[in-house]
Amino acid sequence: MMILSGDPPRSRVLTLLLVLIILALAATPFLFPGAKALNVAAKICVFAALVASYDLLLGYTGSVSFAHTMFYGIGSYAVAIALYGMGPNWTAVATGIVIGLPLAALLALAIGLFSLRVAAIFFAMITLAVASAFQVLASQLSWLTGGEDGRSFQLPELLRPGTVLISKNMFGFEVNGRILTFYLVFAISALMILGLLRVVNSPFGRVLQAIRENRFRAEALGFRTVFHLTYANCLAALVAASAGILNALWLRYAGPDTSLSFSIMLDILLMVVIGGMGTIYGAIIGATIFILAQNYLQSLMGVASKAASEAGLPLLPGLLHPDRWLLWLGLLFIASVYFFPTGVVGRLRHGGGKKTADASH
């Protein structure tokens, strides 16, 4: 239990689910052939880490930030711009990391310190404003970021799909650079999630929960809530930026749609809420359910929409069109906030969901 920081899933079904998900992810390159399955698996890994870092904010401190994709985007763009400008070598990757991570942390610090000065209630609004300004900035500075087109780049030799590490006739599977990249993404994401688990189960994490439950009382107990909240903000930003770096490395591309857009923020919110706020494990479950649904249910919607339009039903084809995917997500989102505020993990842990981990103040 050391590795889980003494915070096991505490539910047999949940444990089984998690083990299944992790095994499936780890074995994806060998179990499910094809580029799509591998892409989906990599996206699940990246988002599990990203969502877990958001959970640190939303679930453990109870503050709603709309700027999380900004940090994710900073990581993505930092590594993309470095690799684009300096060519495909490891120095460029290192440069991207060395610039991206501190930048994200500094920006988080600035937002944290600034929102301290104003009423706590403003936090969500301020992060929304800053994030949208950043998005405009990223699309305006096209000499640096490539504008709406983004930046595509080449990876260092070792990580390219053409690089064969273990040839097919040894095990019957070819291990190439692409698969190595996948395992890099998988391992770093797993490490980050374990790290976050460590953070939330440390005394520091307990203080965050105390702040969530009652900020005034936590302050009265002598904790510097300001310090704790800002620190949590910076930590979450760092993990988000790292997830962004992984995302860019996997896609070999960074652009507004894949790393900055507001719809990613909504996706993250949905994943946290579906998985279960304040659990970290919820991030893995939420990301898996959501991304699987996004990739495989959407095509089902297309089929249903076509069937409805052939049957001559009014309105339904429009509502079921794959582009209206977000509509159903929104409804699901409202329903899950309303009926399952503790998410999948909370349900599995407490059965009937009697104990609501309501994070409001």
Partner: protein, 336 residues
């Protein structure tokens, strides 16, 4: 209130005029920076018109927060709904919109705006009952629920009207500009200013001269006390919420005409602007909201003229500067 009046006046609260002077000072400061007086006048008129429209949209949000501590992240949906509903009226009567007669144009525009307000107001009723009532008093869930509501509303608009941009041409008589010497002021901006001013005065009159307004102001300051006096503040709140939604719908129509197009994503950009306005003004303060809206519009217009690429970032800078000066907004009304 006349039966209360004794001959000596009640002691008046101290007036805080520094925020009022702020936009005036900003405007005057810009004269030398912009250089030409005529472009300054045009820009100032544009700022005032834009500010009034933003004020109309933001006023409901600030009151809703002040009165009931409800953070509505879905306020932008009412704006988009208002604009789309207006197209329902404006499209069939395109001929009378293009006729060059002010009265004929207004005869179509006014019902369109009224219908938009009615629909957004009714939607406000539904949103309040379905989304906000169950999570009353819980900020986190309010934000989540209303964000969900915003997505659903936006997507429903796409499903009903399709994802394309719908053109919404200005009526013929409102196109063009009034020319005063070498200063050109667009006719529609004058109309927007007039409507905005009318809404501001109407809100101020209701808030300051009627019993209803007295209750609302009292509720903003201390909700429990009003409840203790036996008033049903939930019903009052519902009324304010619906009015705020209707005003957002009106603002949506005006904004769509100003941009001459309708798109569901218009609510996204405007939501950010409105939040900035509400934060700058101080949550719950109509006067602050009015000044905040004009400041934001001024920064957008002057900034767009002087440093074009930084229009949205300049709003953030404005917000930072104002909050450094007054951490709770220009006028801090609530004790929260």
């Amino acid at each position: 209130m006349t039966d209360l009046a004794a001959n000596d006046p009640l002691p008046k609260p101290k007036r805080d005029i520094a925020p009022v002077l702020l936009p005036i000072a900003l405007a005057l400061l810009m004269i030398p920076l912009i250089g030409s007086t005529s472009s300054w006048l045009t820009l100032t008129a544009a700022s005032l018109a834009m500010g009034m429209m933003i004020f109309i949209m933001a006023s409901g949000l600030t009151l809703v927060f002040g009165l009931m501590d409800v953070l509505n992240f879905g306020h932008g949906a009412f704006i988009a709904v208002g604009a789309y509903v207006a197209t329902l009226v404006l499209a069939p009567f395109a001929a009378s919109i293009q006729a060059d007669s002010l009265w004929m144009n207004l005869a179509v525009l006014a019902p369109a705006a009224l219908l938009s307000m009615a629909v957004s107001g009714a939607l406000g009723l539904i949103v309040e009952r379905v989304l906000i009532l169950p999570v009353y008093g819980q900020h986190l869930k309010q934000i989540l629920m209303t964000t969900g509501g915003l997505i659903v509303a936006e997507q429903t608009l796409y499903a009903l009207w399709g994802p394309q941009i719908i053109p919404m041409p200005l009526p013929a008589s409102l196109r063009g500009s009034f020319i005063l010497g070498d200063v050109a002021i667009a006719k529609y901006r004058v109309l927007a200013m007039l409507i905005g001013l009318a809404v501001f005065i109407a809100i101020q009159l209701v808030l300051n001269r009627t019993k209803l307004g007295l209750l609302i102001r009292a509720g903003v300051e201390n909700r429990e006390m009003v409840e203790a006096l036996g008033y049903r503040i939930r019903r009052l709140f519902l009324g304010v919420f619906m009015t705020g939604s209707a005003l957002a719908g009106l603002g949506g129509v005006m904004w769509a005409l100003y941009r001459e197009q309708v798109h569901a994503s218009m609510s996204d950009d405007l939501t950010v602007l409105i939040f900035i306005v509400v934060i700058i003004g101080g949550l719950g303060s109509i006067g602050g909201c009015f000044i905040g809206a004009i400041l934001v519009a001024m920064v957008a217009n002057y900034g767009g003229f002087l440093v074009p690429k930084l229009a949205l970032v300049s709003n953030i800078l404005l917000m930072v500067a104002i909050l450094m000066w007054r951490p709770r907004g220009l006028y801090a009304v609530t004790s929260r």
